[in-house]
């Protein structure tokens, strides 16, 4: 800790130096305004003591000048002055002083005040260090997220584009989406679909998407059957995810004729809106992916059929648990009512836009707490 003492009287320069040195502070003592400015720049003190009257200028002007010179650095300036009227003190503080001790001063008092100011200087330095470190980490995280975004966005681009047979809506709660929706038409014309929901949301939840995507698109190329794909995805997630993470999901294959075979684990019921307005469901009968070992995993499939005019709608729990401004969840009944009405539309794209609008309306100003995925499918063969 370094102290700059500005005082025109040699005796005070000596007393102040002695007092400060007793506290382990190094001192540079100068006598005039000009010397003080030069010393402040070359010596870079942590604390300054000064008098109101000095050679070559006033204490008020000096404080103002030194405060400007110190910029963002906090350097306490303590007046040690023989003039102790209220108006002098007032002018000192207005000029930027941090403390005022009248002369002649009690040595003990000066020591205590010095210690207090030294503690403040330490605190400020600590704060600057931490602030700098935080700014650094923030910049680093932003850069990393940008890179992760770049990679993860690529996944979604490989999926089939929205059409009158396929419509995907994904809305993330955080800057990363823990839900995954992959749809790809195989060479034989059948459509492979994966709608998944990883534990939690944000970056940790979306990382698991990478290996799943790879496995999924490999399966499209190799024309692997659905139960084999379920086994593969479960195996890869079981081996890479920590034990508190998993992925709920539907894996589904729809033939050109509308025949559906599917594997479901940990997902809410998916809806089939029949052409006549009635409902049928796909149900998850398994534990989510990434929990069970190879030996315990069950890959048995279920099946259903999409006929002309039917729509299959798969939603993640983020849709059912979407809250409005009264903190009420949307829930199964209201989702069904929306689907029943909206997917009567002959255009799937128009219906999808309508349901997105309805969900946004319901949510209003309230915060989205979980990722939302809503995938709608119609059979191409039947249109």
């Amino acid at each position: 800790m370094k102290l700059l003492c500005v005082d025109s009287e040699p005796v005070y320069r000596e007393i102040i130096s002695l007092c400060a040195e007793k506290e382990g502070v190094t001192v540079k003592a100068v006598a005039s305004y000009q010397e003080a400015i030069i010393a402040f720049e070359s010596y870079a003190p942590d604390i300054v003591t000064l008098d109101v009257i000095m050679k070559g200028g006033s204490g008020y002007a000096l404080v103002q000048k030194l405060k400007t010179l110190s910029g963002k650095r906090f350097v306490p300036m303590i007046f040690l002055a023989s003039h102790t009227t209220d108006s002098v003190m007032d002018k000192c503080f207005k000029a930027g002083a941090d403390d005022f001790i009248p002369k002649p001063f009690n040595e003990m008092l000066l020591n205590i005040r010095l210690k207090t100011h030294m503690r403040h200087v330490e605190l400020m330095k600590e704060m600057y260090r931490k602030n700098k470190a935080l700014t650094y980490y923030q910049a680093m995280i932003e850069r990393e997220h940008e890179m992760a975004h770049h990679v993860l966005d690529h996944i979604q681009n490989r999926s089939d584009k929205n059409s009158e047979q396929v419509a995907i809506t994904r809305l993330s709660a955080a800057s990363f989406n823990g839900d995954l929706a992959l749809i790809k038409t195989r060479l034989d014309g059948a459509r492979l679909v994966f709608v998944g929901d990883f534990t939690g949301h944000g970056l940790p939840a979306s990382i698991g998407a990478l290996p799943v995507m790879q496995t999924f698109f490999d399966a499209v190329d190799e024309v692997v059957c659905v139960n084999e794909l379920a086994v593969r995805i479960n195996k890869i997630l079981f081996s890479i995810l920590p034990d508190y993470m998993f992925c709920a999901g539907y894996l589904l294959l729809m033939t050109q004729e509308g025949g559906i075979t599917y594997w479901g684990g940990g997902m809410p019921n998916a809806y089939i809106r029949r052409a006549n307005g009635g409902f049928d469901y796909l149900q998850s009968s398994h534990m989510p992916l990434g929990i069970l070992s190879m030996n315990d995993f069950e890959a048995d499939l279920q099946s259903n059929q999409l006929n002309s005019g039917d729509t299959l709608i798969i939603v993640s729990d983020g849709v059912l648990e979407l809250k409005n401004c009264h903190n009420e969840m949307l829930g199964d009944d209201q989702v069904k009512a929306l689907i029943s009405c909206i997917y009567a539309d002959a255009s799937l794209i128009a219906a999808q836009q309508k349901i997105e609008l309805k969900l946004a309306e319901y949510q209003g100003e309230s915060e989205q707490l979980d990722d939302i995925t809503l995938v709608a499918l119609r059979s191409s063969y039947l249109q």
Binding site: D197, D243, Y244, M267
Partner: protein, 100 residues
């Protein structure tokens, strides 16, 4: 405290009671609740009668607990409300836990 733990030595039961929202914010506390016990118990009860909401992170925490304690020990999930029971059943937690 939103997690408290009581043990019954004669019945060989450790009961973890959770109050409020069972979510990721309890991650460390929940893990400490069963792993800081001095010995392993035959039965663990996770009392959820005072849990209002449970998210997928909590399901993950329960699975992690299942992995973390002896395979012979039984874990009972008790007192879940209809909403929570539905979440547990959708994820087929009845395969690994005793849901009451």
């Amino acid at each position: 405290m939103s997690i408290s733990i009581t043990v019954n030595e004669t019945k060989d039961i450790a009961t973890i009671t959770i109050v409020g929202s069972f979510d990721f914010s309890l991650f460390n506390e929940f893990r400490a609740a069963y792993s800081d016990l001095e010995r392993c118990y035959k039965t663990y009860v996770v009392d959820m009668s005072m849990v209002e909401y449970l998210d997928s992170a909590a399901l993950g925490m329960l699975l992690s607990m299942r992995n973390g304690i002896e395979e012979e020990s039984n874990i009972q999930l008790t007192g879940a409300n209809a909403f929570i029971k539905n979440i547990l059943m959708i994820s087929r937690f009845d395969k690994r836990f005793d849901i009451q």
